[in-house]
């Protein structure tokens, strides 16, 4: 009886007082482990489409080092439908998520019907079920759609496997190529080749055009190239030199740098009216503008304080604000897609690294560990930064996830790769 009352006493007292709270701030450094089970296929297919699709999906999902995969040789079974799926087979292997699927049929037009499922093994629930119909010639595109949906379900972020990258390749001393490719480096297209430098590519929000700077006529000149037709239009006669074009989020104007009588300042250029509006007017160098996601502000680099620092200007009121103070080199600023933080090149003791900063904080955080990083560009889902860096004299593209768990480099091209620009998402 005494024990009973003692226990009762503790229970009562426990319910009266504040309950113990343990705070969990830090997450694991481990990656989610995903099993990409080879998709099944109905009998009668000449090619093993199921195997191909699951291989492409796996390759996509592992592209940026955000997940760990389970080797097929370790799998205990190869289920292709929900009925054949047993959670215990995956739980024992330490798997967090399993992807299964099946190529069900092909119709008279040669279209495949593919069903797929994603399971959360720890929670023992199916978290995604989908079906897609596509042509057998478009297996890779179908796989990208499936990969995007799986990625979105696991991370809560938009999938980026159908995005593209624009970049400049300097294949030999005096050949420059303006290129675009899929984000995995496939399907490279050369848009323009020149003996003079090409710089600062930027995608229009609808992904149909690219603006960039070319020195083909001796001076820095901005061109807008239509990707479908290949047609190039120069936006000229805006002063001595024009550079660093960046599309506004609505695609109606460009922020750019115009140098009248040798002094670069930030301007807005309306695509339709071809009207130029001055934003800054300072004897210092103002350059590298970039829009905030809500179009209300522009971040730019200026040496007005004696060293390159980042500033923000309101496009309506033209009120300016200095954003960086640490170090004597902070340049090429860009906003995160949420507009709450920025990333930029931070120079310190001769090292140039990619850094981030919350706009609400005064502290900056260095992301990369290489020393000659430049031209950072962020994935449209705000999770990955790709930047140009150097290995000796050879330039290549490196990447890092914002949680710092994964660092990677993109496939090497023939020549130095510079000035990457990540395309927006297709809506």
């Amino acid at each position: 009886m005494i024990r009973f009352f003692t226990l009762l006493f503790f229970l009562v007292s426990n319910s009266i007082f504040t309950i113990l709270e343990i705070e969990i701030l830090k997450g694991s450094d481990n990656l989610s482990k995903v099993a990409f089970v080879p998709f099944g296929a109905e009998e009668g297919f000449e090619e093993d489409y199921g195997e191909q699709i699951s291989r492409y999906v796996e390759k996509n999902m592992l592209l940026f080092g955000e997940f760990e995969n389970l080797d097929k040789s370790e799998m205990l079974s190869y289920p292709s439908s929900e009925n054949d799926f047993f959670y215990r087979d995956w739980k024992v292997l330490g798997v967090d998520y399993s992807v299964i699927g099946k190529v069900n049929s092909v119709n008279a037009l040669g279209n495949l019907n593919i069903s797929y499922f994603l399971f959360n093994i720890n929670r023992r629930i199916k978290i995604l079920e989908g079906e897609i119909i596509g042509n057998e010639d478009n297996i890779e595109d179908i796989s990208k759609i499936i990969s995007n949906r799986i990625y979105e379900q696991i991370t809560g972020l938009r999938g980026i496997f159908d995005t593209k990258l624009a970049y400049v390749v300097n294949s030999d001393a005096d050949t420059y190529q303006m290129c675009i490719s899929d984000i995995d480096g496939k399907n490279e297209q050369i848009l323009f080749t020149s003996k003079a430098p090409i710089m600062s590519p930027d995608w229009s929000p609808d992904r149909k055009k690219i603006a960039y700077v070319s020195f083909e006529n001796g001076l820095a000149e901005i061109f807008i190239q239509d990707l479908q037709s290949g047609k190039r239009d120069s936006i000229q006669a805006l002063g001595m030199t024009n550079s660093a074009p960046v599309w506004s989020p609505d695609g109606k104007s460009l922020a750019l740098v115009v140098s009248f009588s040798g002094n670069p300042d930030i301007f807005l250029y309306s695509i339709n009216s071809k009207r130029l509006i001055r934003l800054t007017n300072h004897y210092g160098i103002d350059t590298e503008p970039s829009w905030s996601p809500d179009s209300k502000k522009i971040i730019f680099t200026s040496d007005r304080s004696g060293s390159p620092q980042l500033y923000e200007i309101n496009t309506k009121s033209k009120r300016k604000k200095r954003l960086t103070r640490d170090g004597n080199y902070n340049a090429r600023g860009r906003y995160f897609p949420d507009g709450k933080s920025i990333f930029f090149v931070h120079g310190n003791d001769g090292n140039f690294q990619i850094a981030t900063k919350k706009l609400s904080s005064r502290y900056i955080e260095t992301l990369t560990s290489t020393s000659l990083d430049e031209s950072p560009t962020i994935s449209p889902n705000g999770n990955i930064i790709i930047y140009a860096t150097k290995d000796g004299s050879n330039g290549y593209l490196g990447g890092i996830t914002l949680d710092g768990k994964s660092r990677f480099s993109l496939p090497v091209k023939n020549g130095s790769v510079r000035e990457p620009a990540w395309s927006p998402l297709l809506n």
Partner: protein, 206 residues
Amino acid sequence: MNRTLTSLNTFFLVLLFLSLIFSMFSVPNLNIDEKQSIKINFYELIQQDELLFDSPASNTLIKKETKKTSAINEKINADETSIISKFKINKLDLKNEITKIKLSKEREDILRVSVIIQERISSIWIKPNSLSESLIAKVLINLAPSGEILNFSLIEPSSNTSFNESILTAMNKITFVEEVLSLERKLFEQNFRNFNLVFKSSGEIE
């Protein structure tokens, strides 16, 4: 017979009422003292350490405290008789000192187990990337004395679905919290029978 049972029931009820009152006013309060916050995180731990021992070396604290406690106990045991005989020392003060030492030991045990739980959960929680907002979600855990997780529920979810999902996924990975076996039953019932895990994210750049 009935009268006996009725009076026994009344006695139990009175006892229950008294225990309630007693628990409200006189139980050593480990949980709610502001300075001795029970919210455990890495930063608070350091502050706790400094508060308790005036030492910045958090890793050696528990050892230090154990040594300190046992040393004090030995000293008290050895000297108690002689001191009391030599001086008319206030016995109430002595009792208070001993209670303080006991409380300190209990708090040390709570901290120790809390830190272990914190580390275990951190090691299995795969925090979603690129969270642009500050998020908080609270999970209530119901433990058996064996350490088995009897139940858990997301009592205060955050506004972010993937953040909540990541927490539920992590919680499903763990079935036992064996560390509570090392606690006295009283401490377990007071602090770990039901406790909260507060998952926090301060945004994508921390």
